[in-house]
Each structure stands twice: as C-alpha cells, then as structure tokens.
C-alpha cells in the first residue's frame, strides 16, 4: 500500500464548477502538505503549501488538512479550462536527522474543465 493515496480520476467538470481533490496518507510523521499542478510534459508547479490542520486559501484555491483523519483536500472554485492538468498531492516529514525533506507524492488526479 502506498503511503499516500490519491484518486487518479479522471475528473471532468464544466467551467465554473467547484472541484474537490483528495488524498489520504498513512504516516503520522508527515507534517507538511503540498499541492502541485502538472501540465502535460511539464514540471510540477507548486500551488499550495500548508503544515497545520485547517484551511488555507489562495485566490480560487483552498487547501484543507485534517491531521486526525490523515486526509487532505484541494478545492478549486470557479474552475476554468486553464485549470485542466494533473494535480498531485505531496507530503513530507519534518526535515532533520536522516531526512532532508523528500516528497512523497500521490498518484495524481487528471482534471479536465470543459467550456
């Protein structure tokens, strides 16, 4: 079983819809949570970063973390066709000791927003 599980989709929504993307993780040592967006054949682009339970908002994006349930979410409001991409959750432990912060990724969710 992977340490980070993410529904690969694909997910297809109409323009303007609210999108919900989710990941679960198993390792309690994970403390930092990120969402990356990856367009086809491009490098992952950092969208959101958070380390505490609760919500963090940035424009149309909201990242939500529930450490007690080991569950993280990314919400996209007023989705646009340009949001069509693969969304990857990425989690890491605290850097230190033998770990300098390698990321463990979910499988990625393919999102298509159609006009």
């Amino acid at each position: 079983q992977k340490e980070v599980e993410q529904d690969p989709g694909p997910l297809s929504v109409p323009e303007g819809a609210i999108v919900s993307l989710n990941c679960t993780y198993s390792n309690s040592a994970f403390q930092y949570f990120m969402w990356y967006r990856q367009y086809s054949r491009k490098g992952p682009e950092l969208l959101m970063y958070t380390y505490s339970s609760g919500n963090k908002e940035d424009g149309r994006f909201t990242a939500q973390v529930d450490k007690s349930s080991k569950y993280i979410s990314l919400f996209i409001r007023d989705s646009q066709p340009s949001d069509s991409a693969t969304y990857l959750c990425a989690i890491r432990t605290r850097a230190g000791g033998t770990s300098y912060g390698k990321l463990t990724f979910g499988q990625g969710t393919i999102l298509t927003v159609h006009p």
């Binding site: 682009e45 970063y49 390698k102 990321l103």
Partner: protein, 112 residues
C-alpha cells in the same frame, strides 16, 4: 524569477549506454532533489544533496550516481541504461530545511 534549469530537455540513448543529466538550482538554494516519473506515474524520489553532500537516498538503482558541485549544480549519471529507465527526470531545489521544493521542467529520457 529564476527557476530550476535542467539540461538536456530531451535525450535519446541506446540500451547499455550512459547518460548525464544536469540540474541548476534556483540561486541561493542549497538543496537539490532528483525524482523519476514514469509514464502515468507519480514522481518517485531518487536522491538528494545538501551542501554537496548526499543527504537522502530513495529508490535509486546502483547503476545511477549523482553529485552536487561547489556551485550547487547537480548531475545525475546513469550507466548501463535499460528500457525501463525511460522516464521524465525532475530536479527540484529548496533552501535547507525549506518547506517547499521548486521543480525544473524535467529531462525526458528515452532508451531504445
């Protein structure tokens, strides 16, 4: 703003050949990470360096080696290439203990 630079962007090799991938981190970033992303897969951590020393090691084959140089750029050396090595190879950089990693555009390696 300056980003992570990777070269080459595309590389085609034959089986059993060697390949060298280069990564230039964002200025003032001292930590470099290498990831491998197979077709339809999530990125898998290979190896990382901090201040020119290997800091962590993941699922990197023994045929691969890497190092970080005094100017903080890093090179991933891959020998005895196999068909299964065909993938996107990403480099990411951060400041030490930094909570975010910034990825380069990747090198697409095709082994024929």
């Amino acid at each position: 703003a300056a980003g992570v630079i990777q070269s080459p962007r595309h590389l085609i090799k034959e089986k059993r050949e060697t390949a060298t991938l280069k990564c230039y981190p964002i200025p003032r970033h001292d930590t470099v990470y290498w990831y491998q992303q197979g077709p339809g897969q999530d990125p898998q951590f290979l190896i990382s360096f901090y201040e020119k020393m290997q800091s962590d090691k993941g699922s990197i084959p023994d045929r691969f080696s890497a190092q970080q140089f005094s100017d903080y750029h890093s090179e991933l050396n891959m020998s005895s290439l196999e068909l299964g090595d065909s993938a996107l190879y990403f480099c990411a950089s951060s400041v030490v203990g930094g909570n975010t990693q910034y990825f380069g555009p990747g090198t697409r390696l095709t082994v024929l």
